[in-house]
Symmetry: C2
Subunit: 512 residues, 2 copies
């Protein structure tokens, strides 16, 4: 027995409503609606839309206004797109019971581990927008309190299976992933052309920034289009052995993106959730060999070696289970890698390394070579221990640069602006000293305040790194921005923060 | 360092938007807004509104439409009301960080009990609409996984202190509460006039139905106004010793109402959460003596005696701590109490009992007398063991009826419709037998399908109770409705369900 059956209420006509409600499905109904008595519904109650075979859940808003007529149902942009029925066509709307899989979430909260079937049902419901924000939060909270190894495996698999699953007609498909948190650090954009130049397949999908000033997808977009579909991506990989595209556009593990959008505001992020998130994307991407980079440092995501070790074990466990050869390296996460922070500035660093420019950042070059060396040795024809030399050969000879140009050409132009921010200010050392520390978190925030990643040319260019000697008044870094207000904000933040952001020790301590 | 400071962005003008978003604060901004670059925001991100000393958090929706101009911020009805600034006045809007108290919620999820201070901060933030739905869900999930006795006390107190706190200039202020779930069961409306007629103070606040076909407030509203403020309520109590009003209007434990609105769709409801919810309202209502009614039955909220016992201990524990004399009685929850289900039909039962009508439901009369007897014995002047006789005396003499009329007059007329639904259908026994069981859950749902509590006169009138002998074709109950579609739905549900809803045993089993 349900509260209302579609057949007994006249259907409504779909009206498209110009409201961007992000991830959430929102529909608007007239308080004088002919199809249901809106007193039965309250604002923000959940309703089910049906049209032909299509069913979608949405959050309801009521209006007395002419925005929608009494015989219409207003669909905000995201739900209009997802529902996919034309304006004017008919739809029935009924109160929506919570998704059935929520029973399992409730049991989980009470301490019962989830079965594979339950996890699959939950993830399918989430991927199909059947969970409200608060229902997603309930699931995340349940899995944050504990996650068994069986749940971790089932979750990784269910998320991978909920979206596109790429298949490659090759034995060896390599991939790399960094858990993030380090400003700059655009190694993928150097590693991919090196590895592809060697002839190994590396179909790299990356994310856009969510809370950072740039994701690899944002930075690559300075040079080429990254929002290409599965077919185009396959063509690029067939032609170039590799690609650098945005994973969101090819719909890899879409439930993961939805989970992340609730995890971020709640700021919950357990080890298991991180591993399930990353491994679901790698499973969906069809990788056979995966190198994971875990930067460790005081302001990195991992503060110490023991934390990194526990995370490593989890990655290995999941990789082994699904037949992905996982290698985890722990890297230096004390400071940014490269000098630029923000898409255009980072792209400059990348191209400088690929072009073997004299002033190319050495740390970015070295770290990229080291990662590429690991990946190259997945080639059975390459002699053990020669990976690094081969990587350097491909980089120094210009083969990697050539490969990058080939990839850029294959992906096509993005049309993104490539200038650096025209409003600049240098932040100088308050006194003589030696750079002792750089706060990655604050630097990321500062680059975002300046406008990155929305303004691709906004961000920070570093002049000094840890260990560098500086004199009072010598520039430490430059802020780039386009927008008045953001520039002013970034400058104010930098000034109040200068000694903190880049830890120049007090003159007393540092003077010899 | 925050992402944007109000001073650096021009303020927007408030525009009132005709959208009812229920509990949730929703604001609409133009994608071409002058005050912030909306690409920085995404739909459904949280923003902070500021105007003079006022601060409020809201969920953001973007539009390209003329609904709001680039220099305006659209406030949906609920947030417009809560913010309380006139249309056209200025407001600044900035990205909102999550409320600080959410740190404690995260720690709780990780297994750390909450301190009194943390619970207080969380409840204050919730009561002031600073938590989004998903943040509330996170808190509920954390406290559903475990709640220490210290947390239970702190939560009850914090919720009571977050709203109106009534004080009565009397030593003894009695109250009763039933945890609900039993159709009909309007004992409060008989108990209050009996106890008040005796002269004890009983300022009864009740809830409206959320998932049931009627709350006591809905049923009382058939006879009198229930949405009266604190001052009017105090006057009624001073004049009549008692009242029967809606607790929502006097703002008792408002955070509890917000928590419930998230608990219901998630269908999480632990013992501790139930006790904190009820005790916060009783603390806020200023009761000194409280009688709790726990109905136990196969389709009641409590299925067995051991469950009821654990709940009883929790009520006693919290009561003792706050100096409220709590008495818990376990009652028969196998079937409805009274014959009507739905506000008007229940009000008829209540008045029939008070008027000592010959056909008044005996079960409702007996249960009410029993509860009143307990409450009356809180009067130090009443001899132990004489409570029941005194209650019966007050009822049989018409003193309770007279007191009810006095209360109704003092609260004033509500203007609610008092007719029973004019569309009726009788549901008959499919074969001879004896009524073995009545499913309270299904009966409640059927009454709601028929239109209760929105249509006060819709619902069910029962002709038979457990133990009654019925012949094939004899009416079991009558459905009342006003609305075509709801009537048809209820009838269809009743037909498909008849043998289930009221368990007439099969002819084979029941025939002698």
């Amino acid at each position: 027995m349900t509260l209302a059956q579609p057949s007994l209420r006249p259907p409504l006509k779909i009206r498209r409503i110009n409201l961007d409600t992000g991830r959430e499905n929102v529909v608007v109904i007239s308080r004088r609606s002919t199809a249901l008595r809106p007193e039965v519904f309250r604002g923000f109650s959940r309703v089910e839309l049906r049209s032909n075979a299509k069913v979608l859940l949405a959050t309801l808003i009521l209006t007395d206004d002419g925005m929608v007529a009494p015989d219409e149902l207003g669909l905000a942009e995201p739900v209009f797109r997802r529902f996919g029925e034309p304006a004017g066509s008919t739809v029935t709307v009924t109160p929506a019971p919570p998704p059935e899989s929520l029973d399992a979430v409730r049991a989980k909260i009470q301490g019962h581990p989830l079965s594979d079937t339950e996890i699959k049902a939950i993830i399918q419901d989430i991927a199909h927008y059947r969970y409200s924000d608060m229902e997603i939060a309930a699931f995340l909270m349940g899995s944050a309190s504990f996650m068994t190894s069986g749940e971790l495996l089932a979750l990784s698999r269910a998320m991978a299976e909920a979206g596109t699953q790429l298949k490659w007609e090759r034995q060896i498909v390599v991939d790399k992933h960094c858990i993030g948190g380090i400003p700059g650090n655009r190694t993928s954009m150097i590693v991919v052309p090196i590895v592809a130049a060697h002839g190994l397949t590396i179909p790299k999908t990356s994310s856009r920034a969510i809370t950072s000033p740039a994701g690899t997808a944002d930075t690559m977009e300075v040079l080429a289009r990254v929002d290409i579909g599965v077919e185009a991506m396959t063509e690029v990989v067939n032609a170039c052995h590799g690609c650098l595209v945005w994973g969101g556009h090819v719909n890899l593990s879409p439930a993961d993106d939805i989970l992340i959008s609730v995890e971020r505001p709640l700021a919950i992020d357990t080890r298991e959730q991180m591993v399930a998130s990353i491994m679901s994307k790698k499973l969906a991407a069809g990788s056979s060999h995966l190198l994971i980079d875990l930067p460790v440092g005081p302001s990195a995501k991992l503060a110490g070696a023991s934390e990194a070790m526990r995370l490593r074990k989890l990655f290995e466990f999941v990789g082994d289970h699904f037949g992905i050869a996982v290698e985890v390296i722990i890297s230096d996460g004390h400071q940014p890698i490269g000098n630029g922070v923000g898409p255009v500035l980072e792209a400059h660093d990348v191209m400088a390394v690929l072009q073997n420019d004299a002033d190319a950042p050495r740390d970015l070059r070295e770290k990229s070579l080291r990662l590429a060396a690991h990946l190259l040795e997945y080639d059975p024809d390459l002699r053990g221990g020669t990976g690094y030399a081969r990587a350097r050969e491909l980089l120094d000879s210009g083969a990697a640069l050539k490969q990058m140009h080939k990839i850029i050409e294959a992906q096509g132009p993005s049309g993104a602006k490539t200038e650096v921010g025209n409003m600049t200010a240098d932040v100088s050392a308050p006194h003589d000293g030696v750079i002792e520390a750089i706060d990655c978190l604050r630097l990321n925030r500062l680059a975002r305040t300046a406008g990155a990643p929305i303004d691709k040319g906004a961000g920070i260019k570093l002049f000094k790194k840890i260990g560098d000697r500086v004199e009072q008044g010598e520039p430490l870094y430059r802020i780039h921005a386009f927008d008045d207000a953001q520039f002013a904000l970034a400058l104010a933040a930098a000034k109040s923060d200068a000694g903190y952001l880049i830890g120049v020790p007090t003159a007393e301590k540092s003077r010899p």
